[in-house]
Amino acid sequence: MKALSVLYDSPGPRARRRNLLYSLLFLLMVAAAAWWTLKQLADKNQLAAEKWTPFVEDPRVWTEFLLPGLLHTVQAAAVALVLALPLGALLGIARLSDHALLRRSVGTLIDCCRAVPVLMLMLLANEVYARFSDVTPEARPLYAVVTGLVVFNAAVLAEIVRAGILALPRGQSDAARAIGMRKGQLMASILLPQAVTAMLPALTTQLVVIVKDTALGGEMLAFDELLHQVRLISANYGANTIASFTVVALLFIALNLLLTALASRTESWVRRSRRTTGTAVTASPTGRAPLA
């Protein structure tokens, strides 16, 4: 028997019977809700076979809509992370600077970037590209989405980097200074390599947030990502809105669960690893650190 919660007594015969009763009642409720939902779906003709079979029978749904959409989502998220990471590291290090002016101004910049909704950054980037650059209208949504994500996530990653560096034991920098290292050497060869290892789990968690935010670009800027495919598929396969939403949502969930599993694996690796003296930095569940 596995360890039980301290919140309740370990169930005896009566409690077990009561739990069984609650379980049955709950199952009954779920069954009723499921029956009602399915009935509603059937009434609106959303359970018709021809609305669902394309996803298993017609490979073109996958090759022309879902897989390219998934690819664009992953592409935008990966490019955003790769660009935001060095920028975030730079900002995070600048926030730990010995110069008060630099430290404070970078701190304000980070707080400002985090206080603004990422959608607004995307909308701004879209207009700026339209007005001040020669990015083609076809490529503009991708540029706008990635720019918005990079600005916002550089600020979030800066805080993660800072937390990673501060989580290292003081002895590390003391020892480095004792053997005569300069500030730059201390950061580049002692603190940063260890901090990067410690913050790997938080980075992976942040990637989930980035993947979720790309969907905003699909709706507001017509970026050709996974969510955008719902309208295209339901337009091509007889208004199967419910079916295509289900498949797209499942793809998003599978991708994010994969990344979450990767995050917890790297976390346990970091705990065992001897590459860092710090503790693993994990992001807050929202991936968004507090403002103040």
Binding site: S5, Q40, F245, A289, L291
Partner: protein
Amino acid sequence: MAGHLPPGAPPATLPSATFPSATFPSATPVPDTAALLPDFLDAQRYDLFGAFWVTVQLALYAAAGALTWGTLLAGLRVSPVPLLRAFAALYVHVVRNTPLTVIIVATSLALHQTMGATLGGGTAKETGFRLAVLGLAAYTATFVCESLRSGINSVPVGEAEAARSLGLTFPQVLRHVVLPQAFRAVVNPLATVLMSLTKNTTTAAAIGVGEAALLMKEMLENESHAVFAVFAVFAFGFVCITLPTGLLLGWISTRVAVRR
């Protein structure tokens, strides 16, 4: 109005053909506020405060819903009934890993347009608002649940053990002993969640709810000579909402923290 007219002046309702409008001064004076604002902030065309008021309302209603549903989910996640625990865990994992945009757009496209749900909203505007609140609350509840669960874990074991030794049942332990202390411990994480929620209300623009981000999109397109100024105005608006909230909740968290 008639009192302002000089005696013998023609009533204003007469057709303009007999009295050319050029002889009358402009009947509707331009509001004074328009003169004070920069040219891209046309108060007649853009209802800036109205849009931000919708944002605030979205955040408040969704916060109430998310806190209620999230607390219930947290209770289920630690309950003695395995099936209820499993249900809450499944809900949290599925909903948390779905992009909020997918949820919000699904409430509109699937729930409203395909299934015909209006949630009791009379007009399209009202329905859109209610659908957005539903989506935001369903999504944010998962984060409330996870924060609260870590709060429950931070309550010392002795508290629950003492409560049980007094003969309290599980709901009583949760209601009178554990949850009050858990809530006091997680004011700061909950503040983070609520601040994210406030920023996430912009997602409602995807289904045409007239909140700040939708107005910003319209203004960026119309006033493209002042893109940075428009952005600055909206960013400032958001800081005005989130900063006082953050300070207030930070103050509350130090006031109510359980000293151990």
